[in-house]
């Protein structure tokens, strides 16, 4: 190595200079409430994060307009800090750390289970309140008292949807298909349980994340001769190909997707509603005129169109709950107090309607928001109006 003393010292100085970064100083002026957003803003799942960010920005603007939050009697200014979680555990953890560094105590998001898993230890260390999503079996729990669930996972809604689908299509057996990672297995296994509880024989099939051609998987499914196929949390693109290839292979039964929204993309990829034929899916929000009013309000307040993804509405309701809890607690820093306020608030939203807190039975903690939701149906190639289902309860 031809290194001279001088050049090493100089390059060292350069490195030192690179390490000195502008630190973001915490503001200490008028009452300031910062809502953190941790969500995927880049890559294939960016639409979810953009919906989340848009929703929280909207709720912050609403709160500022209405002077909702008062700290020590003074109306607070609500602002939003959004950071990309890159849909990984590390990304979410880094984002949470970064927010903690900016003095942000409340986080809306993240959206997926790996991210939620990554954020929880950080939130615990910095006593941050998290209102997140993610369908993992351990998404929330008594060991994380400050972590709330923005909406129920399949444990909440799979059962009512299956009852509707069974009444409509009358299937006796189903194959549940999902990717082989946590985003797939945790949902598919809960779905399968729910089918079995309704007297439908269910088997699970997992494919490798990144599969582009599902013809072999479809053949494997066909070999089991199921009466229905549930695509669970397969991403919409994958689900669309599977629907197309199942129909090409001659599958005539109903196809479900008890994993999340994405019907329109699935329909586009599959080649239209005629290809979907008999199809049922979970729609996180029952969208009626009242809910759509949020979109108009958004346009008036934010001067642009709302984010396209319908998860937007759900995040609006969750962010409003958090804002109300902060208002009730009258603090932007004491997350224990905010959490207590949140737990005691009735679950209701001016646009989405009334619901309740659930989660005790499945997660051991009652910190899951449950609002009315929708079941989408395509029957014989015709889209039916989305059916409203009352907020899931635990019985």
């Amino acid at each position: 190595m031809k290194t001279t003393r001088r050049n090493v010292i100089l390059s060292g100085a350069a490195v030192g200079a690179a390490m000195v970064v502008p630190r973001m100083a915490a503001f200490a002026a008028a009452p300031e409430v910062k809502l953190g957003v941790v969500g995927v803003l880049s890559g294939p799942a960016a639409q979810w994060g953009l919906a989340l960010r848009g929703a929280v920005e909207f709720v912050a603007a609403e709160a500022n307009r209405d002077g909702l939050i008062k700290i020590d009697g003074q109306p607070a200014n609500v602002s939003v800090v959004a950071i990309d979680s890159k849909y990984t555990a590390e990304g979410a953890a880094a984002a949470a750390n970064s927010l903690a560094g900016q003095g942000v105590k409340m986080i809306l998001g993240p959206i997926g289970s790996p991210e939620l898993t990554g954020i929880k230890p950080i939130a615990l260390r910095n006593s941050m309140l998290v209102m997140g999503n993610g369908y993992a079996k351990d998404a929330i729990g008594p060991q994380w008292p400050l972590v709330f669930h923005q909406g129920p996972g399949p444990s909440g809604w799979a059962d009512p949807i299956i009852k509707i689908a069974k009444a409509k299509f009358g299937m006796k057996s189903v194959v549940v298909v999902a990717p082989n990672d946590q985003g797939g297995t945790d949902i598919a296994s809960v779905d399968a349980q729910a089918y079995k509880a309704n007297g439908i024989a269910a088997t699970e099939e997992y494919y490798q994340r990144g599969t582009t051609n599902f013809a072999p998987i479809v053949t494997r499914i066909m070999n089991q001769k199921p009466e229905a196929v549930d695509l669970a949390s397969s991403p919409p693109g994958d689900a669309g190909i599977m629907v197309k290839q199942l129909r090409q292979a001659g599958f005539e039964g109903a196809i479900g997707r008890l994993g999340g929204p994405g019907y329109s993309e699935i329909s586009r990829v599959a080649g239209g509603d005629e290809v979907l034929k008999d199809f049922y899916w979970y729609e996180p929000v029952f969208i009626d005129e009242k809910v759509l009013k949020i979109a108009d309000d958004y346009k008036t307040l934010m001067k642009t169109e709302r984010p396209e993804n319908n998860l937007f509405f759900q995040w609006v309701s969750a962010a409003r709950m958090v804002a109300k809890a902060i208002a009730k607690a009258g603090t932007a820093t004491d997350t224990q107090k905010i959490a207590a306020a949140l737990r005691s608030l009735p679950v209701e939203d001016p646009n989405l309607g009334a619901g309740g807190w659930i989660g005790q039975k499945f997660f051991g903690v009652n910190q899951e928001l449950s609002f009315p939701f929708g079941v989408g149906l395509v029957v014989n190639g015709k889209v039916q109006p989305v059916q409203r289902v009352d907020a899931a309860t635990e019985t």
Binding site: Y206, G210, T211, P216, T219, R268
Partner: protein, 288 residues
């Protein structure tokens, strides 16, 4: 028995798609010694060009496929000529360069076209059926194009002056250059040929499967597997290996399940490398 044959048919259609992809990848490596991490990006770009041409310009699908192939070839030419060419002998630098290009391409597509799959359909949707078998006509067309492309490529590489020049450059650049062959002219052409092939595949296959900004990742991984199995730089090897991978994927996924099937495939390729490091048809492992 019926199941075995049906699965074999699936494997062959998979193999045809893979062959088209792996040929371009192996060509770039064989001639330039470059591992093109942006290969999947050109596949995606081909799909989107074809989509945009049919949807926004109203061109007929076959025209769109040709435009997609030419467009990706053009971009490949420019990229090689003006960026890659400067560092073509440094395989670490070219790896980083193609990787950077891929990240820029896929996020560029994301920003322009949005994250969701658009509605992009193959014009022919019929399915041949009979006696427990089925074969989508789309796959038949891809198979036909694949065979034409492979034959053309063989002819180009082994029976034209262009091909002879490329092979001479691949064997020994210094000697070939001394004999008057001009890498500065030929390398961009070779790169364009390969990226055009990826774009053609994208234009053909994405309407059958799906089109989204991120679908380049698995394409790259599959191309890797195939060229390892076939022997880096070997056109014949890549073709045969593509069909082998297609068949193994089909049989293992059908009889073992998706996740275990993939594990079986990867392990097989690993074993293969251990037993025959230069792949099925490769020459001695290249130093670069």
């Amino acid at each position: 028995m019926e199941g075995l044959v049906a699965t074999g048919l699936i494997g062959i259609s998979l193999g045809a798609q893979y062959a088209l992809l792996a040929l371009g990848f192996t060509l770039i490596f064989g001639i330039l010694g470059v591992v093109n991490f942006a290969h999947g990006g050109f596949y995606v770009l081909g799909g989107y060009i074809a989509y945009a041409t049919t949807t926004h310009l109203g061109a007929p699908y076959p025209v769109a496929v040709v435009i997609a192939a030419l467009g990706t070839a053009g971009l490949g030419y420019v990229f090689e000529r003006f960026l890659l060419e400067r560092l073509v002998d440094d395989h670490l630098a070219t790896l980083m360069l193609t990787l950077g290009l891929y990240l820029m391409m896929s996020s560029g597509i994301l920003v322009v076209f949005g994250p969701e799959s658009p509605s992009f359909e193959f014009p022919i949707t019929g399915v041949l059926r009979g006696g427990g078998f089925y074969f989508p006509l789309q796959n038949l067309i891809v198979l036909a194009v694949c065979i034409v492309a492979i034959v053309t490529l063989y002819w180009l590489v082994y029976h034209t002056d262009f091909g002879r020049a490329l092979r001479a450059l691949a064997d020994d650049r210094a000697v070939a250059a001394a004999q008057g062959l001009r890498p500065k002219l030929l390398f961009p052409l070779a790169f364009a040929l390969a990226t055009g092939l990826a774009g053609l595949t994208g234009a053909l296959v994405t309407p059958i499967l799906s089109l989204a900004p991120h679908i380049g990742d698995p394409v790259l991984a599959t191309s890797f597997l195939i060229v390892i199995l076939g022997g880096l730089g070997s056109v014949g090897g890549a073709t045969v290996a593509a069909f082998i991978v297609g068949l193994i994927e089909a049989y293992s996924a059908v009889y073992l399940g998706g996740s275990k099937g993939a594990l079986a495939l990867f392990t097989l390729v690993l074993l293969m490398l251990v037993i025959r490091p230069s792949g099925l048809f490769g020459r001695e492992a290249r130093g670069a």
